[in-house]
Each structure stands twice: as structure tokens, then as C-alpha cells.
């Protein structure tokens, strides 16, 4: 299935990418993160276990077990620092 993946702030800069289309084999956030980690380099580094990042599916923050529906908007970003 296809998902649209957005990156923000430090992760956008590190990945050199604000948005991309990803073809995903699995169905969960964990599957998507594993696919991106497998790219190696900054992807493996920033998305390694223990690194602090957040994932939103269709604009709601979710846990790694959350399902990613086909056509979803997924966003990956650092912990927020507004206010």
C-alpha cells in the first residue's frame, strides 16, 4: 500500500526530505519505521531504538503498534517544543 510521509524540524533537515510517497508492505507504524531504518545512514541513526521521535497518523500522535491505513498521511518528527 501507499502512504504519504512527512518529516518536520530537525528530522526534515537531517533526512533532507520534507515529504515523500512510500510503498509499504506491513500495516503498522513499526513496519514503516523499520522500512525507513533499513535505508541506513541518517535514517538508521535517527530512527534507531531509543531515539526520541514521534509519529502521527492522519494527524493524531500514535504508538508504534498503530495501524497505518492505505493512503494515510504519516508524519515523523522530534518531540515538540512550542509555546
Amino acid at each position: 500500500m501507499n502512504v504519504r510521509v512527512l518529516y518536520f524540524a530537525r528530522l526534515r533537515e537531517r533526512f533532507g526530505c520534507a515529504e515523500e510517497q512510500v510503498v509499504l508492505d506491513g500495516a503498522t507504524v513499526r513496519d514503516l519505521v523499520a522500512l525507513l531504518q533499513a535505508r541506513g545512514g541518517v535514517w538508521a541513526e535517527e530512527l534507531a531504538a531509543g531515539r526520541a521521535f514521534r509519529v502521527a497518523v492522519n494527524q493524531d500522535i500514535v504508538t508504534p503498534d498503530a495501524t497505518v491505513p492505505d493512503g494515510a498521511e504519516v508524519a515523523i518528527f522530534p518531540p515538540v517544543t512550542g509555546g
Binding site: L6, V80, T81
Partner: protein
């Protein structure tokens, strides 16, 4: 209820006057303004740029204001958050809460700020003499937000 994300400056007096309008049932208005400081983590900060996630930001702010309204008896709420480049002394965020009673106004205003700090997708990048840097999330903000789930 007013929730806005904007690049322009806001004015506390104008926002609170709008909240009061010609109502006579409001007993208490608690408000908060967060400002850009010239120092952070021991470095001078000459400017900062606020990035956000358009769409999710408004949704997240509305959700946390709804949480506050479910928890306390509130008459009205205004939240304004700026994005873009800001200088020290510039206002960043405004939260104003109107209620019949002061305890509820204070609690809801502080709750909304604490929740915003951990749930609304904004990120700050600071310009310092050592170069640009992304602000790191603070454990103290997580702790402040967690207080509200304990009670």
C-alpha cells in the same frame, strides 16, 4: 472559542477584550503570554524560527482545549500561537480562559499551556553565536503535563 496559528503579532488587551465582549457573567479571566527570550541553555539567542505542522496543529490545539472544557466549567477560551521568525521580547503564544470562578480559570489556563508544550506540533530553532540549533524538548515540560493526569 478562538484558536489561531498566525505569523503576525497579537495583542493581549485586544484578545481579552474580545473574550469579555459585553458579557456580565464572567468573574475571572486567567491569561498567559509566552515570550521569546534573549538567553536559553546558557547561550545568547538573537532570533528564533517556529515551524509547525499545518492541519495537525489546529487539530491538536482544538483537542486540548476540548479536554480543558470537559474538565472545568469554562465560559470561553482563546489560544493564539505564532509561527515564523521571532526576535527576543516578541510574544509567541497567548492563552486566555474565562470562567465564573478564578480557580477554574487558573487551572484551565495552566493545563492548556502544559498540554500545548507536549502535544501541539511546533518546533523552535534558535540563532545563537555558535550557530543555529533546534531546541530540545524538556523533561520538565513532560513532568508539568503529567501532573494533570495524576489528579
Amino acid at each position: 472559542m478562538k484558536i489561531v496559528v498566525q505569523t503576525e503579532a497579537f495583542d493581549l488587551g485586544t484578545e481579552v477584550d474580545a473574550l469579555r465582549a459585553s458579557r456580565t457573567d464572567i468573574g475571572a479571566i486567567a491569561s498567559f503570554v509566552g515570550l521569546a527570550r534573549d538567553m536559553n541553555e546558557g547561550s545568547g539567542v538573537s532570533a528564533m524560527t517556529l515551524e509547525h505542522y499545518p492541519g495537525m496543529t489546529e487539530k491538536a490545539l482544538a483537542a486540548l482545549v476540548d479536554d480543558a472544557r470537559a474538565r472545568w466549567s469554562l465560559l470561553d477560551v482563546t489560544v493564539v500561537h505564532r509561527v515564523g521568525r521571532l526576535l527576543p521580547g516578541d510574544p509567541i503564544v497567548l492563552v486566555a480562559v474565562a470562567s465564573s470562578h478564578r480557580g477554574e480559570a487558573f487551572a484551565a489556563c495552566e493545563f492548556i499551556m502544559d498540554a500545548l508544550k507536549t502535544r501541539a506540533p511546533f518546533w523552535k530553532k534558535e540563532e545563537t553565536p555558535e550557530g543555529e540549533r533546534w531546541v530540545e524538548a524538556r523533561a520538565s515540560d513532560d513532568a508539568a503535563a503529567a501532573r494533570w493526569s495524576e489528579s
